[in-house]
Amino acid sequence: MTLSSWPLFGGGSRSWFKNGMPGTREDLARSSILLLGMTLIAAGVFSLATGPIPVPVLEVLPRALTAMMSGSFDQPDGVSARDWIVFAEIRLPRVLLGALVGASLAVSGAVMQGLFRNPLADPGIVGVSAGAGLGAAMFIVLGTGLLAPIAALLGIYALPLAAFFGALITTFLLYRIGTRGGATSVATLLLAGIALSALSGALTGLLIYVADDQQLRDLNFWGLGSLAGASWAKVFGAGPIIAVVLFSVPFLARGLNAMMLGEASAGHVGIRVQRLKRLAIVAVAAATGAAVSVSGGIGFVGIVVPHLLRLTIGPDHRYLLPASALLGASLLILADTASRTLVAPAELPIGILTAFAGAPFFLWILLRKRGLTGM
């Protein structure tokens, strides 16, 4: 696989800034992706520098990078021990985790909306996150007893995998319930999402009932949605799964574009629709599961980010998916920075912040006529 086979770089147009076709937004989309990439870097550096203990990031970062180039992950010369601990053990894993979670939430939303052909489909709203939470809760409570051998075998990947299977089962059920004869009814989808969320919630509640104290503390974390528990173990547990999804979804872009015409027409222009649907469902479940396993339920990122991008760069998934990843990562890093500084030294759960911004936005989409296309 070469870079040019990656849809963003290939797909018929080799040069990035050539005049695009009239009526397409490809040039705008390409420059937006560059801009969003720079935004992500800026947001990351800003977040690393922000917090109760001031860290001279612009001095630490280049030294850390130079040290890393030569294969050392230890404290570089010229950086104080205190600065290094705050930078490398607290802020850096948190920023990286925020980027991974934000990117996976936004991309899951974009893929799911493309699959269901509706701007309101989102893992959080249709109960996929709740399913992932249930999977994770089952693992936390039963992982010490019944599932202990499996847990030991999978190590740090056990929790993301448990959440992945919870998300996978929920997404699959949703698709079976919501789609009849090739058409997805959004009303059925949202209602089925409510029912599945409630069911996952009830089962999670049952698990809370039988959980011991330590398990309870771990479980409590799911309800809130927070990056406060960020650690390198979480980055390395969820990171590879999310990275695989992020780099493979662009291959679904052509199919998701064709799906905008409906399932039947997508088949007529040459897409293997059943295979596309299966791959998209697995991708959404993996990304949502990995994100939920490290951060709990953080809502609305998956709706707000792809929708804003569709309004500006258009719905072409070749650009929408990478742009969603970059904007989702930037937004979540910034929201997390706010959540840990607004009421310092205490912390607001980030889920509260995203809900405050996202819920009114969701209503705004509902009220706009064009947002209802396909309802």
Binding site: M21, T24, T373
Partner: protein, 280 residues
């Protein structure tokens, strides 16, 4: 009541043919199409007519691979149910009765989806020109940047036709295999000028070597443009053959269960002119 063999050229090879043999389609326990057989060749404009619920659209759906079927349906020598979508997309385009688009796309973005099956083979400059030509062909010059949801129903239908044209632009592949356009009531949402224009476009595609199979409601447009016609009634093929042979008072009256009179207009060359009559 078979009037004449549908196949006109006895020397046509299998890659130039659409062969339907004893096709049956069941939907929800009802036999919608039952034992339909016909063979048609490219380089001609073929139509399917019949009353509502006669199974003509369902038959077309089986031919384009959207429905399962019993019996055999072969396009260019390939059994439809065993052929992958990406191969089918290469030899035939499909225009549905109506196509909704999920997100507000521009006209140009919608038409670009016609390049899905051969995306890597087209340079951007080439595509841009192709889109412009396709828009010209459907009389929508300069519509590239318009938003699809803002267009009227008839304009949307013509944009979709432009997309299908971009998918199978050349009527004949370099190896001589004809391509096909399958059209489900292509002109029912159009005004009369654009009805004529789109039918002319389809007839021209057939004249240049491609194949056309269209489900039609308007009998006069069918008479004016089609080469052959298959009459469906109650899931069966009631009659098939050249338009001039099939368009008879008693055949059409039986098919539609309503008195119909066919006149041949004297000025025009043998073109049947269909009039429904009977007490209103």
């Amino acid at each position: 009541m078979t009037i004449a063999p549908f196949l006109t050229d006895r020397n046509a090879t299998s890659r130039e043919l659409l062969r339907v043999k004893d096709a049956g389609i069941r939907l929800g326990g009802t036999q919608i199409v039952d034992g339909v057989s016909f063979t048609v060749e490219a380089r001609a404009f073929h139509t399917i007519i019949g009353p509502n619920g006669s199974g003509k659209s369902t038959l077309l759906k089986a031919v384009i691979g959207e429905h399962g079927y019993s019996g055999s349906i072969c396009l260019a020598g390939h059994e439809i149910r065993r052929t992958r979508p990406e191969h089918l997309a290469f030899v035939r385009g499909v225009l549905a009765q109506q196509t909704s688009v999920a997100f507000p796309m521009t006209v140009s973005e919608v038409i670009s989806l016609g390049f899905t099956s051969n995306a890597a083979g087209h340079k951007q400059e080439h595509r841009r020109q192709r889109i412009r030509q396709a828009l010209c062909a459907v009389d929508l010059q300069g519509f590239e940047a318009r938003l699809y949801p803002d267009l009227s129903g008839g304009e949307q239908q013509r944009v979709q036709l432009a997309r299908v044209l971009c998918q199978v632009w050349e009527p004949v592949l370099p190896d001589g295999t004809p391509r096909w356009l399958f059209l489900d009531e292509p002109v029912s949402s159009l005004d009369i000028k654009h009805q004529i224009q789109i039918m002319t476009l389809a007839a021209d595609y057939a004249r240049r070597g491609g194949g056309i199979l269209a489900v039609m409601h308007d009998l006069n447009l069918t008479a004016r443009f089609a080469d052959t016609v298959l009459v469906m009634r109650g899931g069966r093929a009631m009659a098939q053959g050249r338009v001039a042979d099939v368009f008879e008072d008693d055949i059409l009256s039986t098919a539609y269960d309503h008195p119909i009179r066919v006149n041949v207009t004297p000025k025009d060359t043998e073109m049947p002119f269909v009039l429904p009559f009977g007490d209103p």
